[in-house]
Amino acid sequence: MKKSHTSIAFNIVFLMIFVWMIIEALNFQEQARYFPFYVGLLACLLMIITIFKEIKDAKKKGPETEKFHNHLGRVIRYAGWLLFFVILIYIFGLIPAITIYLLLFLLLEAEIGWIKSILSTSIGVTVICLLSIYLDLDWPSSLITIF
C-alpha cells in the first residue's frame, strides 16, 4: 500500500463525510444549520483542492516507493491486542479483562517469565483497584459480571 494512494483515498473518504454533513445540515433548524453548513462547505472546498493537488503531485513524481507504513503487520497485530482487551472488558468486566490481557501480553509479547508476569499482573490489578477506590472511578458494565 503506497502512501500517496492511501492519502488520496483517506481524503476522498473525508470529502464524502463533509458532503454528508452539509446535506444533513440542510435538515436542521435555521439557527442550528448555518455553522456546520458553512464550516462543512469550506472544508469541502479545501479538501477538493487538496485532492487535486495530491493527484497532480503523484502524477508528477511518477511511481512511488514510499510505503504507507513499514510495519503494517505489527500495527494490525497490536491493534488486535487492544481490540481483544476491549472485547474482554465487554464480556467479563474490567478486572478479569485486565488480568487475562496483561498476563497473556506479558507472556506472549514481552516474553517475560511466568513469575514476573504474574507479579506484574497482580501489581497492575492492585493499582487499578486502588485508583478506583481513591478516585471513585467507575468501571464499564459487562455481559458477565464476575467482579
Binding site: 463533509f18 456546520p36 472544508a43 479545501l46 479538501m47 500495527v75 514481552a110 497492575g124
Partner: protein, 499 residues
C-alpha cells in the same frame, strides 16, 4: 490590603491547613498524571468533603488540587506524547521529541520550574488586578469573545508547518466534530444518529486521547523501540531550570499571557497553551526548531498553563462566572462553605480571596518540589521496552477514557478516533489544529449567534472586535509568510543536495 495579605499568609501556613493543601496537591498531581481525567473529576471528588469545613481549610484542599493539575499532566505529555489534560496539549509538540532524544529529565525539569513560576505569577496577577477587574471583564461582550475564538483558530496555520491547507482542514474537522450534539441556539440535535450518548456531544478528553494516545501506543509497539529509542537519559532537571532561566522573558511573557487569557470565561482554559506556544514560535528567531525538540516549546505552554489558573479565578470569584467545569464546581464548593462570589470578595471577604491567592502560590511550590523529586524515576519509563510498558498504559488510558461520561460509547469512540488519528499521523496530517478547532467550535458558534441576535451586524464595528480582527490578520499573514519561507528553504536545500 497588605495587612490582610500578611494575616492570611499566617492563617494559610497553619499545620492543619497545610496538611489539607498537601492532600489536595497529591490528588491534583495524580489526576494530572492520568490521561483522560480532568480537573472536574478532582473537584467532584473533593466537593463532598468540604461541606461544613471552615473556608480557609476547604479552600486549601480545593485550590491545592486545582493549582497543580497542570504540573502532573506534564509527565504523560513529555514521556508519551499524550496530553494529560487540556492544559498540556501543546507541551507534547516539543516535550515528546525531547524525550525521544533521551532528554526527558531536562524537559520535565524546565516544565515543572516554569509551571511553578507561571503559577506564582498567576497568583500575583490575581492579587494585583483585583481592584481593576470589573470594568475590564465588562469590556468583553459576546462579539469580542467570538473574535477571541477566531484568534485562537488563526493559530492553526502556525501549527500546520509546511502544509497550511491541511492545518486549516484539520481545524475545520475539529470544528465539525464540535458541532456533534445539541446546538447552542435551538433545541436541535446534530449528527447524533438518534443515539442518546451523542446528545451531549463528543468530549474533549476522548478527542485528545484518540488522536494522540492511540497512535502513540500502536506505533511504540510496532517500532519495537523504547520512547527514547535506545538513547541514554542525558541532562538533569537542573539543566531544565537553567534553560528556563536563560529564557526568563519567555517564561514571564507566557505566564502573563496565560493569566490574561485565563480570565476570559469559557474560552481561555483549553487554548491558552496553544496560543502561548504559537506566539513563542512565531516570535522566535529560529522557529524551524520548534516541533523537533526545542526546549522553548516546553517552556512557553508550561509557563502559561499554571498561570492560567490565577486568571480563571478572576471571573469565578468576582462575578460568579465559571470559566470551566473545574471552576464551576469550585463555585459550588465555595457556596457549600458559605462563601458567595461577587464584588464582596474584594471588600468584606477579602481575607478569603487572599487565602486563595496564597494557597495558589504555596500549592504550586509544593507541587513542583514533589514533581521534581519524581522526575528522574518517572523519566526512566522512557527507556523501558514498549512491550513491557504499553499494556499498563493501555489499561490506564482505556479506564481514563471511560471516565469521560462513564458510558461504553466512550471506549468505542476512543477506538474510532484513535484509528483516524493513527492514519492522520501516518499521512502527516497536523493533529493539533483538530483539538483547537474542536475546543473553540462550541464557543465560536454560541458567541456568533448571540452577537447577531443582540447586535445585528453592528457588532462588527465594535472597537474590541476590530482590534482582535487586526490581530487575527497579523497572525494569519505572518504564519503564511513563515510557511512560504520554510518551503523556499526546503527547496533551496533540496536543489543544493541535487546539485
Amino acid at each position: 490590603m497588605f495587612e490582610t495579605m500578611i494575616e492570611t499568609f499566617a492563617t494559610v501556613l497553619e499545620p492543619s491547613r497545610i496538611l489539607f493543601m498537601v492532600l489536595g496537591v497529591f490528588i491534583g498531581l495524580t489526576i494530572g498524571f492520568l490521561p483522560g481525567l480532568s480537573g472536574t473529576v478532582g473537584m467532584s471528588l473533593l466537593l463532598p468533603f468540604v461541606f461544613g469545613m471552615d473556608p480557609a481549610t476547604g479552600i486549601a484542599l480545593l485550590i491545592g488540587m486545582m493549582a497543580v493539575l497542570h504540573s502532573g499532566d506534564t509527565f504523560p505529555s513529555v514521556l508519551l506524547g499524550i496530553p494529560g489534560s487540556s492544559g498540556s496539549q501543546a507541551t507534547i509538540m516539543d516535550g515528546y521529541p525531547l524525550a525521544q532524544k533521551g532528554q526527558a529529565v531536562r524537559a520535565l525539569g524546565a516544565a515543572f520550574f516554569c509551571s511553578m513560576v507561571g503559577g506564582v505569577i498567576g497568583g500575583l496577577i490575581l492579587f494585583l488586578v483585583i481592584p481593576l477587574l470589573r470594568p475590564l471583564v465588562l469590556l468583553f461582550g459576546s462579539p469580542e469573545l467570538f473574535m477571541l475564538a477566531l484568534l485562537g483558530l488563526s493559530f492553526v496555520g502556525i501549527l500546520a508547518g509546511k502544509r497550511p491547507i491541511l492545518g486549516i482542514l484539520a481545524g475545520l474537522v475539529g470544528m465539525l466534530l464540535g458541532t456533534v450534539g445539541t446546538a447552542p441556539a435551538v433545541p436541535e440535535y446534530r449528527y447524533t444518529f438518534d443515539s442518546l450518548y451523542l446528545y451531549n456531544g463528543i468530549q474533549l478528553p476522548l478527542v485528545a486521547l484518540g488522536l494522540f494516545a492511540f497512535p502513540v501506543l500502536i506505533d511504540l509497539l510496532a517500532s519495537n523501540e523504547s520512547i527514547s529509542r535506545g538513547a541514554k537519559l542525558t541532562g538533569s532537571w537542573v539543566q531544565g531550570i537553567k534553560d528556563s532561566i536563560k529564557n526568563k522573558w519567555l517564561v514571564v511573557r507566557s505566564a502573563v499571557l496565560g493569566a490574561s487569557i485565563g480570565f476570559i470565561p469559557g474560552l481561555g482554559g483549553s487554548v491558552v497553551d496553544w496560543i502561548s506556544y504559537g506566539i513563542s514560535k512565531q516570535t522566535s528567531e529560529n522557529p524551524e526548531n520548534f516541533g523537533k525538540g526545542d526546549i522553548r516549546g516546553v517552556i512557553a505552554p508550561e509557563s502559561a498553563n499554571n498561570a492560567k489558573e490565577g486568571g480563571t479565578l478572576i471571573p469565578t470569584l468576582m462575578f460568579g462566572i465559571p470559566g470551566s467545569g473545574t471552576t464551576a464546581i469550585l463555585l459550588g464548593g465555595l457556596i457549600l462553605m458559605g462563601i458567595e462570589s461577587g464584588p464582596r470578595m474584594v471588600t468584606d471577604d477579602l481575607p478569603i480571596t487572599m487565602s486563595i491567592i496564597w494557597t495558589l502560590i504555596i500549592a504550586n511550590i509544593i507541587g513542583v518540589i514533589a514533581c521534581l523529586s519524581l522526575t528522574k524515576p518517572i523519566a526512566w519509563f522512557s527507556t523501558v521496552h514498549p512491550t513491557k510498558l504499553v499494556p499498563f498504559i493501555t489499561i490506564i488510558i482505556v479506564v481514563g477514557a471511560f471516565q469521560t461520561t462513564q458510558h461504553w460509547g466512550d471506549i468505542l469512540l476512543f477506538l474510532a478516533l484513535g484509528i483516524v488519528g493513527w492514519i492522520m499521523k501516518q499521512l502527516d496530517w497536523p493533529r493539533a489544529p483538530i483539538l483547537i478547532g474542536f475546543v473553540l467550535a462550541m464557543s465560536a458558534e454560541r458567541y456568533l449567534w448571540i452577537s447577531f441576535s443582540h447586535y445585528g451586524v453592528e457588532w462588527l464595528t465594535r472597537p474590541g472586535v476590530i482590534v482582535i480582527a487586526l490581530l487575527c490578520i497579523v497572525v494569519v499573514i505572518s504564519s503564511l509568510l513563515q510557511s512560504k519561507k520554510k518551503q523556499s528553504m526546503t527547496q533551496t536545500n533540496d536543489s543544493g543536495v541535487k546539485s
